[in-house]
Symmetry: C2
Subunit: 664 residues, 2 copies
């Protein structure tokens, strides 16, 4: 033998390395989706909704490969065969059945029979001799028949039958789907490669991804600013909230409010004798985070409200704000959980040079028993879960340690998989995304500060196509007690309709803080805050004030319920139109059975017109095809013929359109 000059001696350590390389996975499984930080955090999914699992799967050469997902939910494991999308991309959908943690792995292997069948078909079509190929096919089937398993009997029978067939009948059999199915089941799989690590998916109930939130201060449910509203007054508001189509009712903290350093109206440093104080200054001699503010009617009134809301199909969400009035009982009972200055005084919250003298933070890494503090905070949540609350909006989670939240959420959801947490973090993107990765079900966003078409396209593209798509559920609030957007301060009524429509159509989760439907926008001069903020005083409102947009909000929420395409931020495609003042996009479910086109004018002052292209090709139509169209805001039906269409958006009428389309 013509030996290459230098064959490796058996003692060469390289000999071990080549043996290991021969055992290494021959196939590649890459760019698996969903995945978060290479499997360090779970991806998110919701019960009953198909979760697309994709990967690049390939091997050397021209042979065919096959792949499946092994999907674990609870104790049940399923094998889900993947299909090739082209360009080495493979996909299958899994449908989680319940809330909790699922896991999956991808397996891929050399598809010998598929490769053989593919080559055979080409050769037969080209009319080249295939006698040897048929012999090879018989050998493959004989080999498969010897493999123990449920298909072995059928394969053995097939092998016997083949011995009786001529080449032409054999060819038919080899090219047929029945043989392919048998071989898929029974052929020994070569070069089986498994993805690593096993990936996790946190499954949550539907409302984690699709809900309309309404926020109010219960104490303002009154017709007289001198009379503090109660939970029983909130019960009286429920029919109106339900009629508008909201299904989550969220309150700022409902606990006793501290008296020390209590804030007065408009964040003034001194409260008057009748001032109710900020509900974020939690805790007084009447109790802390597990108590109910007596003026709201105490825990019994809360229970009445909770029951009434439940009957109306409205879920209550509470605020979890880890901060303490100086009067909070924990300062007296567990002083080691707080920090002190060199003079022995307690350290107030601050953001230098600002100090917040009605609030004290706890020390999450206190020298003494921080574990007891963490558990006590977790027990606050469990207390309210016992009272029937399953949604917690967490105030400023980014100023508390990430390991704390990860532990707390895992602990609580381990006991109650239907509990959800919304992260109210307005800070830099990395932190906002991280909070979602470690377990928050939903997240506040930068929506309130996105105004131009380019801004919406950039931000929503990041959320729906970038890494966040796998773990970040954006909750689009049009306003909050802390955010009176500059845009709305001057937009007038049309601007409120536009912002509601943007939030309600771009995201499965949207919400408003009461007063929005009345187009309230009086600011603290020059600031993005409300004048006479409800955070510091009781506000009485006329819920039927003229110029309100209750009708439009009701319609939007109704359209959302009727159209699955609007029940997630995903399934979004921005489309071209010739007017920069009009945001135009498609929302659809994966199989396109529900397909909406949405156009919203961003100009609250002038009428805008736009020519725009209808994505006929996406719907399987030629450029001169016809679409049946239903404009859902107005309830009109008509037909669009051809690709190019036109619309006029009139702020003083209705500055948007939502077209549900299907091929005529």
């Amino acid at each position: 033998m013509t030996q290459p000059r230098r064959v490796t001696a058996p003692s060469d350590p390289a000999a071990g390395r080549v043996a290991a390389a021969l055992r290494a996975p021959r196939l590649c499984i890459e760019r698996i989706s969903p995945q978060v930080d290479h499997g360090r955090c779970p991806a998110k999914a919701t019960v009953g909704q198909a979760l697309a699992i994709e990967a690049d799967i390939f091997m050397d050469g021209h042979d065919q490969v096959a792949a499946q997902v092994i999907w674990h939910e609870g104790a049940v494991a399923q094998a889900l065969p993947m299909r090739a999308l082209g360009n080495d991309r493979w996909r299958v959908e899994a449908v989680p059945q319940g809330a909790g943690r699922c896991r999956f792995t991808i397996e891929a292997w050399l598809d010998r029979w598929g490769s053989f069948r593919h080559g055979l078909a080409r050769k037969a079509a080209a009319g080249v001799p295939i006698k040897l190929e048929l012999e090879e096919g018989r050998a493959l089937i004989r080999e498969a028949a010897q493999q123990p398993g449920p298909a072995a009997g059928s394969l053995a029978a097939l092998s016997r039958e083949l011995a009786t067939l001529d080449d032409s009948r054999t060819l038919d059999l080899f090219l047929g789907e029945a043989t392919a199915a048998l071989m898929r089941a029974g052929e020994p799989r070569r070069f089986v490669t498994r993805s690593q690590p096993e990936l996790e998916v946190e499954v949550e109930r539907t409302r984690a991804g699709f809900a309309a939130w309404y926020e109010l201060f219960p104490r303002s449910c009154t017709r007289d600013p001198a009379r503090h509203g109660t939970f029983d007054d909130v019960i009286a508001r429920l029919p109106a909230i339900k009629a508008m189509g909201f299904d989550v009712l969220y309150f700022p903290p409902i606990h006793p409010i501290g008296a020390s350093n209590r804030k007065g109206p408009n964040n003034s440093l001194k409260a008057g004798p009748g001032d109710p104080g900020s509900p974020y200054a939690i805790g007084s001699s009447e109790g802390g985070h597990t108590a109910v503010h007596p003026q709201l009617g105490g825990i019994e009134a809360f229970r009445r409200l909770h029951a009434a809301a439940g009957e109306a199909g409205i879920e209550i969400a509470l605020d979890f704000a880890v901060q303490f009035s100086p009067d909070h009982p924990w300062l007296r009972d567990a002083p080691h959980w707080f920090a002190y200055r060199p003079d022995g005084s307690i350290r107030f919250a601050e953001n230098p040079p600002k100090k917040y003298q009605d609030i004290v933070n706890c020390e999450f890494y206190a020298d003494s028993r921080p574990d007891a503090l963490w558990q006590a905070l977790r027990d606050v949540i469990l207390h309210w879960v016992d009272a029937g609350v399953k949604i917690f909006r967490v105030d400023n989670p980014h100023t508390k340690p990430l390991p704390f939240w990860q532990w707390l959420i895992e602990d609580v959801r381990g006991r109650h998989p239907d509990v959800m947490f919304l992260a109210e973090a307005f800070t830099r993107p990395a932190m906002m995304y991280r909070l979602a990765k470690i377990g928050f079900s939903q997240s506040y966003t930068y929506f309130t500060w996105r105004n131009t078409r380019a801004e919406f396209i950039e931000y929503l593209t990041e959320l729906t196509q970038g890494p966040p798509k796998d773990f970040y559920r954006p909750h689009f609030f049009v306003n909050t007690p802390d955010i009176n957007p500059y845009f709305l301060q001057t937009s007038g009524r049309a601007g409120f309709v536009q912002r509601a429509a943007l939030a309600a159509t771009l995201s499965g989760l949207w919400g408003l803080y009461s007063g929005f439907e009345l187009c309230e926008a009086a600011p603290l001069p020059g600031k993005e805050e409300y004048l006479d903020s409800e955070k510091y005083q009781i506000r009485v409102r006329d819920w039927n004030a003229p110029g309100n947009i209750v009708g439009e909000i009701t319609r939007l929420n109704h359209i959302r319920r009727e159209n699955p395409a609007l029940q997630s931020h995903l399934g979004l495609t921005f489309l071209q139109c010739d007017n920069d003042q009009v945001l135009y996009f498609a929302k659809h479910v994966p199989d396109r059975s529900n397909y909406l086109l949405v156009a919203i004018s961003l100009d609250p002052h002038q009428a805008q017109e736009a020519y725009f292209d209808v994505p006929l090709a996406e719907l399987g139509l030629p450029d001169d095809g016809a679409l049946e169209v239903e404009e859902l805001m107005r309830g009109e039906r008509f037909t669009w013929r051809g690709k190019r269409q036109h619309w006029r958006f009139v702020p003083w009428e209705l500055p948007l359109a939502i077209w549900r389309v299907k091929p005529a």
Copy 2:
């Protein structure tokens, strides 16, 4: 104490989980760059070139953090302090000193003194009382002074000095950089967090990223097609190749060519008696992959050429094609490395229904001793390394198993870190990228099929800003013996200049196959192949034929050597200009000390004009600023004033411009 209702009992397993959470990393280190598949494959770097290491680093709250990279090269570890770029992004540059594998980890921690100093400065500026803050600062320094370490003595002295200072002097000292430096060195670091896994960087010599390749068939170095060229004839060509500025000379396989089923001119199935055959049909009775084709002059002629090229500063690259003529000695000596049909005949290479009857593939997973086959192939490489060859262009690596290449490259580079491999894979993107991830130094690309401005922008953006930037070094060949681009078949001379300029300026690696400089483009009718391809016959050329572009190529290679901005595909920014037929971009080194603007017309037929914006802001200039400009192709110098400039690109003169700019 107001106990929350349900404090966890000590036996609760949750107690262990909270203890673990308290020990979990408090800081986050995310989106580390460079990294490849979360550290499963090494990133790439070159000797002496700064490698930017970046990450998102952050923690909860408003405190400051600090970070460093621990960089391991050989046995030496260095701590490189990172700097904040804003928005939680941090960076530092490492400069590898030699070829081989480096490793790095990122460490980050709470910067207590930095946080204290920052808050103190703000409070002092706001004029609020800071007496307690100063006391807190003294305590921090006392604590640091007790920490053993090189700074302990200085800190103890500082602590003693502080006892003698009034508040005003103390404030100055606390805000000063000297104290900050001392504290950086000596303060105990809290919440130190380390990135995981440790990441690897494969460092290669300069030519891995910056080289100009010239490909030729040695047998065509002759003036008479009846006389087979030899390596000694190639020696005679070296001065011309060097003069054009090429520094790598690459040959298709140089081994004995099989006689069985030898291909004739234009890939005809039957060779005539004088036909030389395809050099890719490797192996004959005269030897296999380690032998030299006798008609080229044998190994002695190769050694003479290698020495002469070395003296000219030109490196020889060989082709590694793992395929076998039916006459290759291994078929006789190691028949178990090959596959057979049911009738006992050898299995030829095929891509159904096509068969390649002059080529046989080996079985990488043969039933018997595949390890010996892998080692024998590796030993082919080592044989040529011994002969002085350090660059291997690998033919069709995507049709051989990936674990084989990963093992082979690691084995060879473990012995000889200066050996490089170029992957000639024209297949789907996932496979092309994978080959680079598992060790190929350089890769063929889709460059040849990118023609419009939009196509260049999309492809180069993917290569320079997507994941490939960390592991994929694109080698832009303007043509190959297999690719006679459609564009060049009709473009005429200007098209050759345009394609050379595109390759030479967009990538650090470019190359051409001989004949390109003579604007050869006669195709097999309707195909992207050359008529009378050199793969099957000897081609005699007149190297001084009129209309050649030797001058332009020489100029381009000269400009590349003089301008570091052109020595990598990275550092690329596409810029706006008002003519779609003009590709306009900036190339620069990280510190912008070498900054080029390049504009290339894509139209080989018509003159094109363009108004374009000069990125004055990038160069620190206002919109009416002035730039000193050197047009490098023509050697002209002038001044540009203002942002808007104009140029005319004339195909029959010079359809491009390369402007080296600096602030006037």
